[in-house]
């Protein structure tokens, strides 16, 4: 059996600055051994450990989508030792990726359902993966209405801006892009915080509508009541958690919430599940 | 000691009854022989749980930071010196702490007593200067003075140096001619033997950090061993990393350590980490005439510039 601690070697193929403050960069990796790409077969919502020898590892949601072949993408916020080092790396550098890890958004359950995607700030990576996956011609018919509420502090802090504006033009997805505030007079989308935009624009819940939320704790905290007001039940609210992780395979013991391990039993949980566990996230 | 326990309970009862303090921090009986456990008491009924005996080797100054409202704490001589250090370093305010001082005749060396028995000790009590210790295979009657902790046997500040009330009569201070025989013994070795001594000293260390965490002085929000940017010390069992932890931690206590012995008391591996701190205590005394925690009005030597500093590099 494979060694789950051994990363697949990858080469940095491209680095894009993702936000105007340069705190986020999107890294595109290609596998050095092409057969590793098959082993790294993933679902939208999963994460991986980016592994830099001699520096350390960091768990990051996979931003590319299973329908995009030949590479994997991760958008990384510069914060600790590993992410700072990663931000200073160059195209062509060799490192490792370990995964895919964790569970994913419940795509089987979401078939023939309306899906509302709610994201804030830089927690939009696995949501991007999900949107690309759902919009893929082979998959789009599996889902009913798709709504996306995505907000950031300012227009320049929105991730994947080009794609957002492309999606906005399509008629098979309802985009609700928002920023906390902007002086840009040409800004033609929403202004306001995500919970408020959700309340005003997200579809009311029926039993066939599910919401996926990913964002900073404060956004999640205030979005929950907005969704409840729209009639969403606990099991219709799907969330992705972040806890400190090391192994990513459910062994090192730190990321637990009750008996559930965020790295292996999660990171995706329904609010119904979370309400039965200690709030240690 | 019994009268002292009664006194402690009475004082604690009064303090809580009159709402002079919100809580009293003291010791309660442990669940195993020769053990007592720190406890916090908020209701006067619970003051019956308070005890004090020769096994109270931890330093309760470790529990006085970040407490809300006024608290009372039970403190031996060395513990009160530690409280003085806390006040000097602005970790607590004098008027937040009600000190129930306990004149102390020394704490017992549990390791030394355990070493007398092949099997586990199942019963321990003390009767004045006599310790009655029992395992399932034998009984021993011991003279407490022969089983004092090393720091207690050399202690020259048995009486609290700062207090609001004393829970007993003052005790006679010991006259110690050679206060640092252990340090001198190591100093007399050649360099390689000294190195060997410290290598052997820490070889069983498991880096549980009980010494650091039992030490009231180790209150840094992020200890240097836990810092990741930059990472000063490796986190594994590498000998150099282990030793670096010990000597740097000791150095961070230079001029502050009151030799309360809590670090050694807490160590599950019975490592005498005081071999590190005592060298610094001796240097403080020799170079600056300084003993930590005796005076609220004086700044510690490592925190003050003096034109007659004995270090040559400063000139």
């Amino acid at each position: 059996m494979e060694n789950p601690y051994l990363p697949y070697p990858v080469r940095i193929d491209n680095i894009e600055i993702a936000t105007e403050d340069k705190s986020l960069k999107t890294f595109k990796f290609v596998f050095i051994n092409p057969e590793d790409e098959k082993k790294f077969s993933y679902h939208a919502g999963q994460f991986a450990e980016l592994s830099i020898p001699g520096i350390g590892e960091i768990p990051i949601g996979i931003a590319s989508s299973p329908v995009e072949k030949g590479f994997v993408k991760f958008t990384v916020f510069r914060t600790g030792v590993v992410t700072s080092h990663l931000h200073n790396m160059k195209v062509g550098d060799i490192m490792g990726i370990r995964g895919p890890l964790g569970n994913w958004y419940p795509w089987d359950k979401l078939e023939n359902k309306n899906v509302v995607i709610i994201g804030g700030g830089f927690a939009f990576t696995t949501l991007r993966s999900s949107i690309i996956y759902m919009l893929d011609p082979a998959n789009r018919k599996k889902f009913k209405n798709i709504d996306v509420v995505y907000g950031a502090r300012s227009p320049g802090m929105l991730l994947y801006r080009e794609e957002l504006y492309e999606w906005e033009k399509r008629d098979d997805i309802n985009m609700h892009i928002t920023v906390d505030g902007t002086n840009d007079t040409s800004w033609k989308y929403h202004k306001g915080f995500v919970p408020q935009i959700v309340e005003q624009n997200a579809p009311k819940a029926d039993e066939n509508t599910y919401a996926i939320i990913c964002g900073p704790p404060i956004m999640i905290k205030f979005t929950q009541p907005a969704l409840v007001a729209l009639g969403y039940k606990e099991h219709q609210i799907i969330m992705s958690l972040e806890n400190r992780m090391k192994c990513g395979i459910g062994m090192c013991g730190r990321c637990n919430i009750g008996k559930e391990l965020v790295c292996k039993d999660g990171p995706v949980f329904t609010l119904e599940q979370l309400n039965k566990t200690p709030k240690e996230y | 000691m019994d009268t002292c326990i009664q006194k402690i309970r009475e004082i604690a009862f009064q303090l809580l009854d009159k709402k002079e303090v919100e809580r009293v921090i003291g010791f309660s009986n442990g669940t195993i022989p020769m053990a007592t456990s720190p406890i916090t008491i908020a209701s006067k009924q619970d003051t019956e749980k308070l005890v004090f005996n020769s096994t109270c080797g931890l330093n309760l100054a470790n529990y006085i930071r970040q407490q809300k409202g006024k608290i009372a704490v039970i403190a031996k001589g060395c513990d009160t010196r530690n409280i003085v250090t806390h006040i000097i370093e602005n970790q607590v305010k004098r008027d937040q702490i009600y000190i129930i001082g306990v004149p102390c005749k020394g704490m017992i060396n549990k390791s030394k007593i355990k070493a007398l028995f092949e099997d586990e000790i199942i019963k321990f009590d003390e009767d004045g200067e006599i310790l009655n210790v029992e395992s399932s295979s034998k009984k021993e009657k011991l003279n407490k003075k022969d089983y004092l902790r090393h720091n207690c046997s050399l202690c020259q500040h048995r009486n609290p140096v700062i207090y609001d009330v004393l829970a007993g009569e003052r005790v006679e201070e010991q006259i110690i001619d050679v206060p640092y025989p252990d340090v001198e013994k190591i100093a007399a070795m050649d360099a390689d033997t000294r190195w060997g001594h410290f290598q052997d000293l820490t070889k069983n260390c498991i880096r549980c950090y009980a010494c650091r965490n039992a030490c009231p002085l180790c209150y840094c929000p992020t200890c240097f061993v836990d810092e990741s940017g930059p990472q000063w010390v490796g986190k594994g069992q590498d000998k150099t990393d282990v030793n670096t932890f010990h000597f740097l931690r000791a150095f961070h206590c230079a001029g502050r350590c009151t030799d309360c012995g809590a670090c050694v008391e807490a160590c599950p591996m019975e490592i005498n980490v005081r071999d590190f701190t005592r060298k610094l205590n001796k240097d403080s005394l020799d170079m600056f005439g300084w003993e930590a925690g005796l005076d609220l009005t004086k700044r510690p030597p490592l925190d003050a510039y003096s034109p007659d500093d004995p270090n040559h590099f400063i000139k």
Partner: protein, 53 residues
């Protein structure tokens, strides 16, 4: 610090503390020369060296 390291068996000449102002270039050079000579005389350090691998 120097005393403690020496007490632990590290050679005293490996440790040096100096107070040099940024204007004292000559003193800096002197001190560094002096230390390097002392350390060269001692040879490679064997204590408190991390063994990687």
């Amino acid at each position: 610090m120097g005393n403690l390291l020496e007490h632990m068996g590290i050679e005293r000449d490996r440790i040096n503390f100096s107070w040099i102002s940024s204007a004292e270039a000559t003193k800096f050079v002197e001190v560094v020369k002096e230390i390097s000579n002392k350390v060269r005389a001692l040879g490679p350090n064997k204590k408190l060296v991390k063994d990687y691998n």
